[in-house]
Subunit: 601 residues, 2 copies
């Protein structure tokens, strides 16, 4: 392509509304244009990057035997009602575009396709002899984000590869899951990215196990905890760890103490001269289930620890059926107003006891929510601890479980792991923290959707069994932007060769110099014929402008048909290192072909 004929406009200044480097650079370099909030046009350069990423994805998927297809973006609401996800995805925190069509039917725009593919599988798969199957698609997805941000990272419209596999059993699923683990690793490696697979929470997708593929970058929205021995890495939402040891309590006997103005752990510690690890902290949450049920949750957790709300939601979701509900719609910290609705008198916030009960909070009006106490494992082994006395301005110290306060049998892990904690697999290893951009996520779904939607097969014994499912997603447009976020400098983007829109750019310093243009035209033709995808900057612009633009858009190799022509040479500059060398014209095609091959192998 000739730049003189391309719709190519670069911007000198950072656009006002772009927050992170990759977003700014993609806008400035003319890869994308904003059309609306979280909605972008992918201009010709960007489209080439996306096509290259898609092609790598396609090759790796096909190599595993997965079959490409395309499912509809419009999805009938009935399918989501069958799976039980309609409310979760459309109400409260839901992120699905949903509306009523001209036929007065509810439809949604697919953010994901478990329902549609399970519907197809239910229709087409009848026998174990048809299994396993794995279908995937590369498609634009939609999320009705209230605050879209970071360009393509969290847009309302984005391109994903999503695949769904169907199996007779968990063993077959695990094999495909492993194949996908490998395929996803290949995709990211081939795209030229530094990444880390991490254990992840399965969230609204569900299932028994999942791995996220994180592209490492400072602007990543996710925090990853890992050990340096390479044996553990997890999203902080999912991470487990051993907390630091609790200090010995300075208290040896049970006593109620007046502790005025100590509503925070910090203040209690200061006042009582103890460590946060000596305290049982009691935290209140209010959970709303999809059937209208509200549950008040009291958590006992060690004073130095924080609640991991993702883990908490998972625990509460497990309990949903006992409240006659399916899913949680929201989780909030109850404020005074909420309390006043259901409590006869305000709870002594900052001084709540670990074991308040339904009765202790119920108002006469009996409209109080259900009450649930969850005990985090960090408090189990505490001795002579400090905790709230359930009376404003008072704590109890020197408390021991089952002496003054009962410890329930069931305890859970709902604490946030954090850097500095010891690893579970090897307490010698400390967890470290890194920022990542989630570009892939693979799930062992199990039978969640097949049971809900009645997608079954007949096994060898003639019995009807639910299909066992997996699903696998990689964000194509997000991956492309994450490559920029991981690789740029003050002059612009440094695209990995494998996903750069073009491999090389020939910058002609002066298009009115016949010799320069002739050499450039010849190389342009020969390089493209040799498979080195090459741009020709034949614009009527100064050389400086051309070099700046080439650097900004991040083409890996720049060829300058300038002064060196006098010696039968051209200057070739590597974008990543700025390393420049003069190469005889006759060797340019071979050299560039080798460099490209080397870089994408």
């Amino acid at each position: 392509m000739r730049l003189s004929q391309m719709l190519f406009v670069t911007l000198r200044d950072d656009p006002a509304d772009a927050e992170i480097p990759s977003h700014k650079l993609l806008l400035r370099a003319g890869y994308i244009r904003r059309i609306g909030a979280g909605i972008y046009a992918y201009l010709p350069l960007m489209w080439r990057v996306l096509q290259k990423v898609s092609q790598i994805v396609r090759e790796e998927m096909n190599a595993t035997g997965a079959q490409e297809c395309l499912l509809p973006q419009l999805q009938p609401a009935e399918l989501w009602k069958e799976s039980g996800r309609w409310d979760t995805y459309t109400k409260a925190e839901g992120i699905m575009f949903a509306f009523t069509d001209r036929r007065e039917q509810q439809v949604a725009l697919g953010p994901t396709h478990e329902e549609v593919i399970t519907y197809v599988a239910r229709d087409m798969i009848k026998s174990y002899r048809q299994l396993p199957q794995h279908l995937y698609q590369i498609q634009t997805k939609f999320r009705d984000e209230i605050r879209p941000r970071f360009g393509l990272m969290r847009g309302r419209e984005f391109i994903m590869k999503d695949g769904y596999s169907f199996h007779t059993d968990e063993e077959s699923l695990k094999k495909t899951y492993q194949d996908m683990y490998q395929a996803y690793s290949n995709i990211l490696r081939r795209s030229g990215l530094k990444f880390r697979p991490v254990e992840a929470d399965s969230g609204a997708i569900g299932g028994s196990g999942s791995t996220e593929f994180m592209v490492l970058a400072d602007a990543g929205e996710d925090e990853v905890l890992y050990t340096e021995d390479g044996k553990y890495a997890a999203n902080v939402e999912k991470a487990i760890s051993l907390p630091i040891d609790a200090e010995i309590s300075p208290f040896t006997s049970y006593e109620k103490r007046e502790t005025p103005g100590t509503e925070t752990i910090e203040k209690v510690c200061k006042f009582l001269k103890c460590s946060p690890t000596n305290i049982v902290k009691n935290v209140l949450y209010q959970a709303a289930y999809d059937n209208g049920m509200t549950v008040l949750v009291l958590i006992n957790i060690r004073g130095d620890q924080e609640v991991n709300e993702v883990k908490l939601i998972n625990e509460l979701t497990k309990l949903a059926s006992q409240y006659g509900a399916k899913t949680i719609l929201s989780l909030t910290i109850p404020d005074a107003e909420a309390q006043s609705k259901w409590a006869a008198k305000a709870l002594p916030l900052g001084y709540i006891a670990p074991d308040i009960t339904n009765d202790s909070i119920k108002s006469d009006k009996a409209i109080a929510p259900e009450f649930l106490r969850l005990v985090d494992r960090t408090v189990v082994d505490l001795k002579n601890f400090v905790t709230g006395a359930n009376e404003s301005g008072y704590h109890v110290v020197g408390v021991n479980w089952d002496e003054q306060i009962k410890l329930p049998e069931l305890t859970v892990d709902i604490r946030k792991a954090r850097p500095g904690d010891r690893a579970v697999h090897d307490p010698q290893q400390m967890l470290k923290s890194a920022r990542g951009i989630e570009v892939g996520h693979i799930f062992q779904l199990g039978t969640k959707y097949s049971i809900a939607m009645g997608a079954t097969y007949t096994n060898e014994q003639g019995e009807e069994k639910p299909l066992v499912m997996g699903c696998y997603g990689v964000g194509v447009s997000r991956l492309a932007q994450s490559a920029v976020e991981q690789s740029y400098d003050k002059d612009g983007i440094i695209f990995p060769v494998a996903i750069a829109p073009y491999h090389a750019i020939i910058s002609v310093p002066n298009i009115n110099d016949a010799q320069q243009m002739e050499a450039a035209e010849k190389l342009y033709l020969e390089l493209n014929q040799a498979g080195v995808e090459t741009l020709l900057d034949d614009r009527n612009e100064r050389a400086g402008v051309k070099f700046k633009d080439a650097d900004l858009i991040g083409i890996p190799f720049r060829i300058v048909t300038g002064k060196a022509l006098a010696n039968g040479k051209v200057e070739v500059v590597k974008r990543a290192t700025k390393e420049a060398q003069e190469i005889p014209i006759g060797e340019v095609v071979t050299t560039l072909t080798n460099w490209v091959q080397e870089a994408i192998k």
Copy 2:
């Protein structure tokens, strides 16, 4: 791909809700599955067909210098309000999905992208030196059809290539338009389709000239009128012609006649013993403009002719501005109820005069619509004609213009051309009729969108001018189905080689026969390596089932590793002709490679 591992299910019977052969066949052959009204999953075979069509489109577009990009499917309402099309596309007969998002903003799902691309061009194109530009995309589009039908032909979600070009002037536009005419012809030819480019109405897209590319098929929704000299072809919506000559009127003097019970042309002719060509027929329409204005339209047209409502809408749209409106929202034939709202007394339907006026219909309540008389050219030369006397049960005969009734200066062409009419370019040529499926449409838009949205450039003289635009669309999924509609037999689909999902299928009659499987596996490997895309039917099914399925899905060449193996041969059957021949195993790859090359060159 091995059929044993593919999600491949064929149906014995025609699905109940499929109306035309191609729709039935695509469902039966496992290419598509219905997910909802007008919403389909493209299964792996279909996806390959769509990818092949897309690739042909892409190659032909790139060859013209057009640049591929991808524009968003979500479109902010503001853009459509700027162009003035929001109401047309969302109200009354509109076909755009539109809804309010979580941010309380109106958004739509793109059925077309003039607004978005004009917005991008306005932002990026500043100077004549950047022109011309041509951007295109291959993308899923949406139409909120009330009655989706015919499978992919008129779905609510479908794949299109749409391209938009920008120019300094009409001359540059015409050049690109001609390039697109050629590119579209190439696309259809290379896809193996019989087609005809025809003059077309530009409809809601607008602009000064447009050509549709019609794939010829009996089930086509469109009627094409053409002459056998190849010099004229047009969509019936757009077609012009010379009507047959009027007969000499049997009446020689003006007279009012009692003609009871003659509300139709047929009855008048019978009663008065005259030809329909002797009659001036007066037809009423009611048009609603987007500003709420209603206009009552009386049309004078020759008795044997019909009103072309597309031409009528175009005439009324031209007049919109004089009523302070932009577009027409609906065109209906006023019924008794409508009349009773605005007429003091009912109009004498069947006996209306050609020249009734506003006053003659206005009720005392003065809520009557504006009144407009449109005279079709077919009535201009009539002598001694018959027409309504504006009194129930009475006609006037022997009428002459400007003697008894005034003829306005302005006349229009709003009649429907029809087979048997004479061609305008050569009255010796008769118009003939054919059915077609519109798969492509190219438009000279001119400055409609650039003026409305303020997309300008600076010309060589430093003046600001509106961009001159063209747009070009081809229905990728519709093209794929139209290929089936054009080419099938009682046993199934006969796909053209260029867009068949696979070129060949190896049917192993008995997979338990080691020799048969060995020969098949070897050919499967070699053919695929040679670029002959080959399926292996290694399912544990009877040979008859395999042959039936191969015929049904329409793979061009079937290879049977059966009895002929004894002589070192395999049977090869051509799907289109059922012609079978035995070919030595060693020659299969060369033969098939040649056949494929021959077919797609």
